[in-house]
Every structure is written in structure tokens, then in C-alpha cells.
């Protein structure tokens, strides 16, 4: 009889250990992740775009300036304001493509200093078509957690999305 009791005790302890192990596994699997490590918040990225200053040098297309006047221009402002200007220029179809391209390059250089992946889309008005917007950075891949924030500059809305690589 004591032998049966011994076997029963071992079984009881084994079941108890099993339950405790399951508890530990559940504890770790249920613990929420501590944020999207390695990626900047979209709010912080938007604040950086709104406050950081950049200088853009560009050339006006031939025929748009009078004789004897310099074609090279330099403009300085916050990344967000220049992006808004570039979006408006692009939407109007004005013949100043270098300005848009240079602004995109300057913002791309700015975003490169941030950790994680950042995508910026500047859109004029409330249009949803792809024609009236300019983008900097790749679109987030499907299936990743994306953080988003927007900045309004005049009638231009700048969408900032961040995610972990």
C-alpha cells in the first residue's frame, strides 16, 4: 500500500510540475512586447520633420528666368514646409522638377539619421489619387505594425509612417 502511495506522490508532483511549467510558459507568452524597439515613433518623426531645417539648392528650367538672371536658387526652411511646397509645385505640374527632386533628396537624407524605417507622403488637399502627392521612402510592407502621424501645412497633409525593419 505504501508503494502505491509513493507512486501516487510522484504522479502528483509530476502533475504539479507540469502545471507550474505551463504557468511559466503562459507568463512569458502573455507578456506584452515592450514597444516597437529599434523604431522611432511616428509622432517623434513628424516632430522632427516639422522642426528640422534643411537647405535645398536647385536650378530653374531653361526659359523660366530672364536673361542675365541666375538660374540657381537656394531655399531654406523646415523639412515639412519644403515638402509642402514641393507637393504644391508637383501638383500644379510646374516645370521645376529639380526642386521637387532636391527636396525629396534632402528629406531622405534627414530620415536616414533616424532609426527604423520611415515613409513620408505629402498630399495636396483632400485628393486621394497618386498624381497629386510626393513620397519619400518605401511604403511599409504588408503585415508589419505601422505607427502613423500627420502634419498639416496649409492645404497640404503630410503623412508620416514608421515601422521596424
Amino acid at each position: 500500500m505504501s508503494g502505491d502511495r509513493g507512486v501516487s506522490t510522484v504522479l502528483d508532483v509530476a502533475v504539479c510540475l507540469l502545471l507550474i511549467s505551463a504557468g511559466v510558459v503562459a507568463l512569458y507568452s502573455a507578456t506584452p512586447p515592450s514597444g516597437r524597439s529599434g523604431s522611432i515613433d511616428a509622432t517623434d518623426a513628424a516632430a522632427l520633420l516639422a522642426a528640422s531645417t534643411v537647405r535645398v539648392d536647385y536650378r530653374l528650367p531653361p526659359g523660366t528666368v530672364g536673361a542675365g538672371r541666375p538660374r540657381s536658387r537656394a531655399v531654406r526652411g523646415t523639412a515639412a514646409s519644403l515638402l509642402a511646397d514641393a507637393a504644391v509645385v508637383d501638383a500644379r505640374g510646374n516645370r521645376t522638377p529639380t526642386f521637387v527632386v532636391r527636396v525629396q533628396a534632402a528629406v531622405r537624407l534627414l530620415l536616414r539619421r533616424l532609426s527604423g524605417a520611415v515613409d513620408v507622403v505629402a498630399r495636396v488637399g483632400t485628393t486621394t489619387g497618386s498624381a497629386d502627392r510626393i513620397t519619400v521612402g518605401p511604403s511599409p510592407p504588408p503585415g508589419v505594425d505601422v505607427d502613423a502621424a500627420t502634419i498639416s501645412v496649409g492645404n497640404v497633409t503630410i503623412l508620416v509612417r514608421t515601422w521596424s525593419r
Binding site: M1, T9, V13, I20, L27, T31, A50, S52
Partner: protein, 130 residues
Amino acid sequence: MPRWSVRRGQVEPLAALAAVFVLGVALGSYTLAYDAAIPGAPQRDPARPALKRVLTVLRPDGVVRPARLDRARDPIPDVFRANVSVRVGNTTWAVGPRPPTDADAATRTVPVRVAPGTVRPGHVEVQVWR
């Protein structure tokens, strides 16, 4: 036939002792696992709230001013020692004693005014220890 026995309820002493020992170890391990898995209490992660407080001093209008570093440690409780640094590219401004290697640290990317009218992305790091 007797319905009871003098040995009823008894277990081999060795098995009973082993069972108590194993269960004690298991419950102790669970306690350690719980302690490690559950997000820490604020006093175990002091750098994050300290960074939040430091930023209220450093950037009153959304842009960090390195010149305000002298007052950056004011909102950090006196029980902690702290080092606050602002880094933009290769330039670093810092205040506070040299932190030990096990100091709790928190970093955030923020706009920093490096000159009048010039704002660059930078990093504010707060390291706290007792």
C-alpha cells in the same frame, strides 16, 4: 475486513521529502520567472520617466536647446545620480558625472537647435543610477 489501516495516509519518507524539495524549487523558479516576465515597477526603470521630465526642461517649445542642459537634471529625484547628454552628429553636450556601465539608460530622437535658425535631428540620452 477493516476499513482503515494504521498505514493509511503514509508515504515513503524519502519520496515525501523529495516531493517537497522539488515543489519548493519549482515554486521558487516560478517566482523568479514572474519577476523577470512582468514589466518592471517604475523604480526599476527610472531612466524612462527621468527622460520624460528632462525633456520638459530641455524643449519648452518642442525643440531641444543644449544651452538648457545646466537645468536638465533638476526634475530628477535626488535619490538618483544622473548624466544627461545631447548628441547631434559628432557633437555631444553632456552634464553630470560619468555613469557606471550598469546605469539605466533611455534615449529619444528629437529636434535640436544647433545654431540660431538651424535645427537638426539629435538624440537625448538620460542615464540614472543610485
